[in-house]
Amino acid sequence: EPEVTQTPSHQVTQMGQEVILRCVPISNHLYFYWYRQILGQKVEFLVSFYNNEISEKSEIFDDQFSVERPDGSNFTLKIRSTKLEDSAMYFCASIPFTGKNIQYFGAGTRLSVL
């Protein structure tokens, strides 16, 4: 079965540094999502992306965050200047089209900001 792949599985960074989290969605999927889960809290929506632009973003997704699909296969989440409170598990998900609302998730990247 096709899978969403996320790299790295664990990223450790210093506060104030930039990080890029990478995702390779399933190849024929068109809609992409980032979610995050702070330890002990619920999974929260960050942003959705379609047709090379953001279609919806949450209040969490401020100017420190950006997303990109640089080459037609990767889907990246960049945090420009990490804060301690950005430490979380970040999940990428994708769906083929809006008529089929089953999101396929990657295994996640655990981001630790020191």
């Binding site: 809290q41 999974v43 929506f45 609302n101």
Partner: protein
């Protein structure tokens, strides 16, 4: 704002016991409903879904869930749990409205530990 509530944060059961995990959501319109499971160290996997039709839906590994529209509930059940069901279970909702981007709204999750 739309939200999803899961009543049980941590459940401990013995093998062969029956399971019911509660889930309620707050949205008055049409919804798609999901239960995801996350086994230790693994990604979120779809357990079952409800889009329309029969409100009793069956998923993988013997799980089922019942959508009760009047109660805004989508409780997960399994008649007899196994040790391998130890995992975290997430209820999630997609509110359907014009312009929706199909973002999932998750509950806080329920950690299920099944003792052999």
């Amino acid at each position: 704002a739309q939200s999803v509530s899961q009543h049980n944060h941590h459940v401990i059961l013995s093998e062969a016991a029956s399971l019911e995990l509660g889930c309620n959501y707050s949205y008055g319109g049409t919804v798609n409903l999901f239960w995801y499971v996350q086994y230790p160290g693994q990604h979120l996997q779809l357990l079952l879904k409800y889009f329309s039709g029969d409100p009793l839906v069956k998923g993988i590994k013997g799980f089922e869930a019942e959508f009760i529209k009047s109660k805004f509930s989508f409780n997960l059940r399994k008649p007899s749990v196994q040790w391998s069901d130890t995992a975290e279970y997430f209820c999630a909702v997609i509110p359907i409205y014009g312009g929706a981007t199909n973002k999932l709204i998750f509950g806080t999750g329920t950690l299920l530990a099944v003792q052999p």
